[in-house]
């Protein structure tokens, strides 16, 4: 419970931060530091329990479906790392109160407190997923803290985020593998699993993933690049995150998983080699820096390398050494970072080449820095000396052949020589040499020591007593070691004097070489600084970004296009890829063709096939839009023949009517388009033909191998045997449509009706001049041809140009035909249940009437009252649905037909359903004619209606004013009839359709 309190206090700090910041500004650091100390205090009972040999735990379920619990557990590792996080955090907050500018520092304090919460959660987590979440949160907090420092920080923070994100993914993958393999998300249970000893491959894979995660965060080569980048963040952030916390999260992770991996060869090899290489590289880079803070960053990289290498050794002594060096490093490095801030604030620069001689003016700062640098360099009697000795000793035990230990020691010693050198550079370059003293007098020196120096001194000076009384650390380090190696029984004994040992000799060699460096430094620094490594991490990540964009472009270019044919070609390719191999696979096992009452292939099928082939060829080859339309029409009608030959009269009638209507609508549209296809739109013949032939083979082959190779289906038998009994109707296809599968029909009628609404909405969304461009603007405008015609006023001229006299015979015919068609439509509607017909076919006949009337007038007019179509559609859908709801309300199911008798006539509610169908179809057809039928000619005439106007009227009703043109034309005397004499009198009649 104590752990929860700790987290609670930290969460309270997060919550209080806005308030504290508001009232105290940068001084909010004081109460926050106090809260951190309070958090430490609340943790004390748990720490005591750990010292007593226990492991306090806490768990509440979180996502039980995944087995995830909010589980905490404190052990030696947790104690060490949480104390580092809390105490250094408190110190840094105190430091910040002086370091930060006056005024609000909300984002700094807020993210810092969130970070601490996540960090402490991370080290206490006893659930793999919780651990992962805290891990990611520390990454995010780190990212935000870098990002908040303006332009320089933004780029750097992105790189940091990317690298730590990669590590997070590796960790997540590792966690997923562990969870699935061990069946638990509990960290302790998972680490205790025997899979780590029994399955070497699995262990190696997971170990690799975990160490990758650890490497990214603890800045190991090649992921070290983010840390120098992160120096864009302000100094308190670096002192906390980049010395004590975030980077230590990586170390923590490696130690946390040591129980599972410490004996895995991959683990040992990777950690030791990467660690030592990083140690050397970091130290070398540190030496080449002139920015004190960057120098510190590379120094951190180097120090962490040593720790990682030591963890990789995996022995008891090694882990103990790693723990103590972690503590030592956290102390001196956070202090040193803070000292850089002191120098920076005092001089206005961190550049070693610009700093004046400081040690005389700032003796306290010089002293504290000297102690910190000495600790880092490993000078006795400081803690750094003890920890480095331990590291050297531990590395000697490196697994493998005997020479590996020696090699490791030599490498580590080499890195330490460099360490010694850069420590020299920090101290002498920063305080003694004063390379900038004579050059830059513009930087006035304002010693700024106060609170900042005090805060920096605390961790550094803590290293002095701890070095002298190192035995104090024996117990905590033992506990931590035991946590990292559960089966061990460590008894660390830290002391300044171990006797003459290899590590002592190595240390002495380091000191000796270091002395040489001090002596020769004036010559050495410029040489080193001039030879910076040419490639830096920012460039590498920049190149990665560029590479990704370069890689992305082709994928975008190939697959994103405004040209439909490109997309369709891909679709066809996919279809071929699926179907052709599929056919090859299924062909061998294909059963024989079905044998039924008649032969599977009838002679008429062959005729149809040939005619369709001819029409298709013509359709594909012609460049005339009209010819293409006629070929399409031919295909449609020949298909009707085939459908009828297959015994589907309803389908045949529907097909015939639909085909005709479609072709007529196409023709309406074609009057506005160029007469011929642009040759540029013709597909590349070879390529398109190849795809087309392939598709033909695929679809034809699939029909050949999949269809007609079984007897008539059970469902068909059911319909043939029972449909009439169930529905008392003889036309089975019709009752399937309106009863058995009325739901399909409901969907279909909605689609059909709403297609009318669709075109209305589409047309409404387009500007007038795009809908009906003026002849000048219309690229497709074809001027009226020069006609060989006698002059205006002659009967010959009128015979061709007068529309009304030429359509009059048709108007007369329609007077007879329309009633016939209407009656026919009604009959077809009525008989649908028992003979080919029904709502659709009847409606299509009705639509033919609409079409005839629309096309047979002398001028292009809207047909019917303007708002009628949308009403028909809307009410059509409503009637159909309501009929269905009747079934639900008064029978047992939606769309269930209810039978009844009215005056002896058998009635079914499905007929009402058919009414809905009828209305919707008529509505669509009227809208299609009205909206697509306008032509350039109808617009140029006086009183012509534009498409836009028709769309508006279809929605709003007849519009008054200047648009009210067609209605304004002179009223005609009457309609054409058997006795009328309009032609003889020379006056136009009133035409149908209005």
């Amino acid at each position: 419970m104590s752990m929860v309190w700790t987290l609670g206090v930290l969460a309270l700090a997060v919550v209080l931060t806005p308030l504290l910041n508001r009232f105290l500004g940068r001084a909010a650091g004081w109460p926050l530091a106090a809260l951190y100390l309070a958090a430490t205090a609340t943790l004390w009972p748990a720490i005591a329990e750990v010292f007593a040999g226990g492991t306090p735990t806490f768990a509440v379920p979180w996502v039980e479906a995944l087995g995830v619990a909010f589980a905490l557990r404190l052990d030696g590792l947790g104690v060490v790392f949480s104390l580092i996080a809390l105490l250094i955090g408190a110190v840094v907050f105190v430091y910040s109160t002086d370091y930060l500018g006056r005024g609000s520092q909300l984002s700094f304090y807020l993210v810092m407190t969130v970070f601490t919460l996540a960090m402490v959660g991370l080290v206490m987590a006893d659930d793999l997923v919780v651990l992962f979440i805290c891990w990611e949160l520390t990454s995010l907090a780190s990212f935000f803290l870098i990002a908040r420092s303006g332009n320089a920080g933004e780029a750097a923070s992105m790189r940091t985020l990317l690298l730590t994100f990669m590590g997070g993914l590796a960790l997540l993958a590792g966690v997923a593998l562990i969870v699935v393999r061990t069946g638990t998300t509990n960290l302790t249970a998972a680490l205790a699993s025997d899979v780590w000893t029994t399955d070497g491959t699995f262990t190696a894979v997971v170990a690799t993933l975990v160490l990758l995660a650890g490497f990214t965060k603890s800045a190991q080569f090649p992921f070290h690049v983010w840390l120098p980048d992160a120096m864009a963040a302000i100094t308190p952030v670096s002192a906390y995150l980049h010395a004590a916390a975030v980077v230590k999260a990586g170390i923590f992770l490696l130690m946390r998983f040591s129980p599972a991996f410490h004996a895995a060869p991959v683990w040992n090899a990777a950690l030791i080699s990467a660690g030592l290489f990083t140690a050397a590289l970091g130290a070398w880079f540190a030496l080449t820096q002139t920015d004190l803070k960057k120098l510190m960053a590379y120094s951190t990289v180097s120090q962490l390398g040593l720790i990682v290498a030591t963890i990789g050794v995996g022995t008891e002594a090694a882990l103990a050494a790693a723990v103590i060096h972690t503590i030592a490093h956290a102390l001196f490095k956070s202090g040193l970072f803070m000292m850089v801030g002191v120098v920076d604030h005092s001089t206005g620069t961190r550049d070693l080449r610009r700093l004046p001689v400081l040690w005389r003016r700032m003796p306290l700062s010089f002293t504290v820095t000297a102690v910190g640098a000495a600790s880092m360099a490993g000078l006795p009697p400081l803690l750094g000396f003890i920890s480095k000795e331990s590291l050297f000793a531990a590395l000697l035990d490196a697994p493998g052949a005997a020479w590996t230990g020696w090699l490791a020691l030599v490498l580590a010693a080499g890195a330490s020589v460099l360490t010694f050198a850069y420590c020299t550079k920090i101290l002498f370059g920063g305080f003694v040499d004063g390379r900038g003293a004579d050059r830059d007098s513009d930087h006035e020196l304002h010693p700024h020591e106060g609170v900042m120096l005090g805060a920096a001194a605390v961790p550094i000076l803590t290293g002095v007593p701890l070095g002298l009384a190192a035995f104090l650390l024996d117990a905590p380090v033992d506990l931590a070691t035991r946590a990292a190696l559960p089966l061990s029984d460590p008894h660390a004994h830290f002391t300044l004097w171990h006797g003459i040992t290899p590590e002592l000799i190595a240390t002495l060699v380091v000191f000796a070489l270091g002395g040489v460096v001090i002596a020769r430094r004036a010559a050495l620094w410029p040489v080193l600084e001039a030879h910076r490594f040419p490639v830096d991490g920012a460039a590498v990540i920049g190149a990665l970004h560029d590479g990704l964009r370069a890689a992305a472009r082709p994928w975008v270019r190939v697959f994103v296009s405004d040209h439909p044919d490109r997309h369709l070609a891909v679709l066809f390719g996919a279809y071929l890829a699926v179907v052709l191999p599929g056919l090859v696979l299924v062909a061998p096992g294909t059963p024989a063709f079905a044998v039924g009452p008649v032969a599977l292939t009838q002679p008429v099928d062959v005729v149809v096939c040939l005619l369709i082939a001819a029409s298709v060829v013509c359709l594909c080859l012609t460049t005339s839009r009209l010819a293409a339309t006629l070929c399409l029409s031919a295909i449609g009608i020949i298909s009707t023949v085939q459908i009828l030959a297959l015994g589907a009269p309803d389908v045949a009638l529907t097909q015939l009517l639909v085909e005709s209507l479609t072709v007529i609508v196409i023709m309406l549209v074609l009057q506005k388009l160029p007469t011929h296809f642009n040759f540029k739109t013709t597909p590349r013949v070879a390529k398109a033909s190849a795809i087309a032939v392939g598709m033909g083979l695929a679809a034809g082959g699939a029909t050949w191998f999949l269809a007609a190779r079984r007897p008539r289906s059970d469902v068909a038998d059911y319909y043939a045997g029972n449909a009439t009994d169930v529905t008392s109707a003889q036309n089975i296809v019709n009752v399937i449509l309106v009863e058995f599968r009325a739901l399909d029909t409901l969907g279909e009628l909605t689609v059909l009706g709403m297609a009318g609404i669709a075109i209305l909405a589409l047309v409404s969304s387009v500007r007038h001049r795009q809908l009906d461009p003026s002849p000048e603007e219309d690229r497709t405008h074809v001027p009226p041809p020069e006609l060989a015609l006698r002059p205006e006023g002659t009967p010959a001229h009128r015979a061709i140009t007068d529309a009304w006299s030429n359509v009059l015979p048709m108007q007369l015919v329609l007077r007879f035909m329309v009633p016939v068609l209407v009656v026919l439509s009604a009959l077809i509607f009525w008989r649908g249940h028992n003979a080919p017909g029904g709502g659709f076919i009847a409606a299509l006949v009705g639509s033919a009437v609409v079409g005839l009337i629309y096309l047979s007038t002398s001028r292009d007019r809207q047909i019917g009252p303007p708002r009628l179509p949308i009403r028909l559609i809307g009410w059509g859908v409503v009637i159909a649905v309501v009929t269905g709801l009747f079934g639900l309300a008064f029978a047992s199911s939606f769309l269930e037909p209810i039978h009844g008798y009215l005056g002896g006539v058998h009635l079914v509610t499905s007929m009402l359903f058919d009414v809905g169908v009828y209305l919707a179809v008529i509505g669509l057809v009227m809208l299609a004619f009205n909206l697509l039928g306008t032509s350039g000619d109808s617009l140029t005439r006086d009183g012509g209606e534009s498409t836009r106007e028709r769309a508006d009227e279809a929605v709003e009703g007849e519009l008054p004013g200047p648009l009210d043109t067609v209605r304004g034309e002179p009223a005609a005397a009457g309609r054409v009839g058997v006795r009328s004499r309009f032609l003889a009198e020379g006056t136009p009649p009133k035409e149908l359709g209005r």
Binding site: L787, A788, R790, A796, I800, N806
Partner: protein, 121 residues
């Protein structure tokens, strides 16, 4: 339906369909051979005026022979033939005028051409 009548009607319907089809073929070939759109419209008549009505009537005769014909069928056949003869010709007039209006070229052999030249100069 007696056997003889059946045979007669069946033969009749067979002859009628072949004759009808031939008229359609004549129109089709004429389409290829005529010189302008107006001539082509003109030679549609054998198909719509003779060919199709023959076929439609033959179908009815066939049903009569089989004994499946009904009065409704007869009525529909009449309507169909009427539509093909009357309504279709009215529509053809509209097409012919539209052809002229669309600027379709008139064969130069056309003499006289009184839409272009005044017959009473």
């Amino acid at each position: 339906m007696t056997g003889t009548a059946f045979v007669v009607l069946e033969v009749l319907s067979g002859v009628m369909v072949v004759a009808g089809a031939l008229f359609v073929l004549v129109s089709a070939i004429a389409m290829l051979r005529q010189r302008d759109a107006f001539a082509r419209i003109n030679v549609m008549s054998p198909a719509t005026g003779m060919g199709l009505p023959l076929i439609v009537v033959a179908a009815f005769v066939h049903r009569v022979a089989l004994g499946t014909a009904t009065v409704t069928d007869g009525l529909k056949t009449v309507v169909t033939v009427a539509a093909l003869l009357v309504v279709s010709s009215v529509a053809t007039n509209i097409l012919a005028r539209a052809a002229y209006l669309s600027g379709a070229p008139v064969a130069p052999e056309t003499q006289p051409q009184e839409l272009a030249e005044d017959p009473r100069p």
